[in-house]
Symmetry: C2
Subunit: 452 residues, 2 copies
């Protein structure tokens, strides 16, 4: 009774899949925040090395993965795909549930799939340093590991409240040699400015982004790096779905539904885009489902419009589903899903009806997480648990309809750093948050007027 479907080192994909080549319409232009005019590669050069900018705008379907990256991917890739037989039994479904498990990476999540190529292209382009921001620390630790592998200095601006409350992730980044500062920090103009006004500022992702961008923009040896949202990040993550397609073949099956949690969108893109390619080509008809928290329901309740990627209005304007760039989501445990916007590619595909979206509150999500842990063994991250819950709902619904479905979801990371969330759940301390309708109207009101 096989439960694991494994590929060999030599099966690591040789190319990333670029969905831009297959999208019904080309991606919407990215606009300069001042002029409202489309920006070009040169505008991005102070922040990113040219190979990454080329990937950002490329419409080439298959982009080769350099051997140096595949050799590092081989430290944990191909990741296993599991048939969740014990979960199926626990919830009493007749559907078949599979999950791809990205928690085997050194950082414990899918994030190194992109931090490794980002570090590689920076190294190849002669950059010596990378500046980035991190909230709870998932992305920062993935970037720290990548920096260690390629001998790049990594500076992480970590939101101060997390820096103080979640020291383990900070220690993990430091174990890999990264320099971590609490943001707002005295190391940048924007940080100093905020500290002068509010010495006790708890920080925010918006502030941390401003600091990292300023750091990169003002030092020639330094690039900025982002862990989600951007096209090249989504591109790198497609190794997940490409492997899963081979593993579904080993299982002699094909998913009716492909499910992933969705914050900035790269995790959904990673497992979903290769299957979406089959759908667009008319070869198969999988439903791709993005799962978000009810407290930050970007795809399910946001508006599709041009908006800033950050709170401080420093980034270019991108067309995406957004709750408004100044929306501050409730403090749910799935920190990686607390983003006001979404990947422009994911947004556009969702807008065109090629992706579905669902939102759930964290209490039911943790109920499914505990059911999963006690049947399959692995302790899931709160973010990934959104996908688990959607898979459970999907399976139960199929049972009610007398159908038997094949369900695949991405278990994007483990929950070893999120145990206080489980503790809160088990002791009845979890709070649910609904996103009130009136906020949508407010958000629309505050959107920039360009490109509409």
């Amino acid at each position: 009774m096989q439960v694991k479907f494994l590929l060999k080192d030599s099966d690591i994909p040789k190319t990333w899949y670029n969905i831009i080549a297959d999208m019904p319409k080309p991606p919407e232009a990215v606009l300069h925040p001042g002029t409202g005019k489309p920006i070009g590669p040169a505008d991005l050069a102070p922040l990113f090395p040219m190979p990454l900018i080329e990937q950002e705008v490329s419409s080439q379907r298959e982009i080769p993965i350099p051997d140096e990256i595949r050799e590092i991917y081989a430290l944990w890739r191909p990741t296993p795909m599991f048939r969740a037989r014990r979960l199926e039994e626990a919830i009493g479904t007749k559907s078949r549930i599979y999950y791809k498990y990205e928690g085997v990476s050194p950082a414990g999540s899918h994030k190194p799939n992109t931090s490794i190529p980002q570090a590689y292209y920076n190294k190849m382009s002669g950059r010596k340093r990378i500046a980035t921001e991190t909230g709870a620390g998932q992305w920062g630790s993935a970037m720290a590991i990548a920096g260690a592998f390629f001998g790049l200095e990594v500076k992480v601006y970590m939101v101060k409240v997390s820096y103080n409350q979640k020291p383990y992730r900070r220690m993990l980044m430091e174990a890999y040699g990264a320099k971590v500062v609490a943001s707002p920090s005295p190391d940048t103009n924007s940080g100093r400015g905020i500290l002068a006004q509010a010495p006790d500022s708890p920080g925010s992702l918006g502030i941390a982004i401003s600091e990292a961008v300023e750091d990169a923009a003002t030092r020639e040896d330094t690039s900025y790096a982002l862990g989600s949202v951007l096209n090249h990040v989504c591109l790198h993550q497609t190794v997940v779905g490409l492997e899963a397609q081979e593993q579904m073949k080993l299982a002699g099956d094909y998913p009716d539904v492909v499910i992933a949690c969705c914050g900035g969108g790269s995790n959904l893109a990673g497992i979903g885009f290769p299957f979406l390619r089959d759908k667009i080509a008319g070869k198969r008809n999988p439903r791709i489902v993005a799962v978000e928290p009810s407290s930050c329901p970007t795809l399910t309740k946001g508006v599709y419009a041009y908006d800033f990627g950050d709170t401080a209005q420093l980034t270019p304007l991108v067309k995406m589903y957004t709750l408004g760039h100044d929306f501050v989501p409730a403090g749910i445990h799935a920190g990686g899903l607390r983003y006001h916007g979404d990947s422009p590619l994911v947004s556009q595909l969702c807008h065109e009806g090629l992706l579905d979206a669902q939102a759930y509150n964290q209490t039911v999500v943790f109920q499914s997480a505990v059911t999963f842990a006690r049947s399959e063994g692995l302790l899931p991250a709160p973010e990934s648990s959104h996908a688990i819950h959607a898979a459970v709902v999907e399976a139960k619904q199929a049972d009610q309809e007398g159908k038997q479905k094949t369900i695949l979801f991405n278990l994007s990371g483990h929950g070893f750093f999120d145990l206080t969330a489980y503790d809160d759940f088990l002791n009845g301390r979890l709070q649910d948050y609904e996103y009130p309708k009136e906020k949508i109207a407010e958000a629309l009101h505050r959107l920039p007027k360009v490109g509409a």
Copy 2:
């Protein structure tokens, strides 16, 4: 360039390897602490179900692994074996270094290899509850997961100082449904006795063992479970070495040296005994090396004599290397290696010259751990890092001698719950502890006079 050597679900060993069948001399008798006479299976029946007692005393070479256990092993087994090419490069060695990685288990270590069969045989024997103790929580969480899988209630007596200082492991056990109390607890006579005298007692592993044993001995539906030391625990762990032997064949190689850290001994037994079988049979001549901390150098500086397994002198007397049952090791970060004694099987084989032992201080161990993390990616547990360091020393020595060796070590677990240890190391706060010679004479003095 292959770095991972993977086996399939169907390659999970079908039998455990029992080294008792191949030992030059039969194991020394276990003695009753009161009478000094050998004890038999019936004496153990209040604590363990009969199938485990049979395994404890069996001399059958291959003991079948029930399908129900193999199906659960398949959730993470066979574990991967890696060629540590990037570590080799980082330390500039010409030797080949391989490591087996047990951190992919749900508990993050090798411990579930035995907690699963222990839960299974208890379930089969009609027991409803398991009582056990845990220090830092590694073993307790492995037992909690096993209880969840087989529907057994698990009660964990967790040393109070760890219960308060390391809440994450407690939360992990609770996420799997176990009941965890700080020990000394008001739930047992021994706990109440200690609390009456010393309400602020920080607890100790000795006290926690007393509580768990009392719990099991006084309730018919309850067994006691131990995570190391005993013969049946060493037996269950041999899946590690049996898989590694197949994986070395895939690599077209065979180890000159097999290295594992050694606290209670089951980790060393797990990877080492199957290779030792080759050595005893004269087929191959691998050196098997147990690595311990300098602060608790049981095999390297202890005496080989009958002693109690616990501080409170409740357990039977076993012949083993010991530092004296009342020895309290320094508070090093590798909590799993802080045991005054050692597995009787490991001890006897070491005494007979079939196993080597080495001891290292924690500062050099963490230096190697960080080198490993920054080259191979995975963050190792402090215990496992002892094996990493010994492998690095072995490789460097081979280079000095102009030799090229094949080195295999067991990376028994990840270090995600041990980040404060890395923080201490990186900030120069680690302390080294030597075991003074005069303590050996003292320990000899306090040993029980039976069976000498």
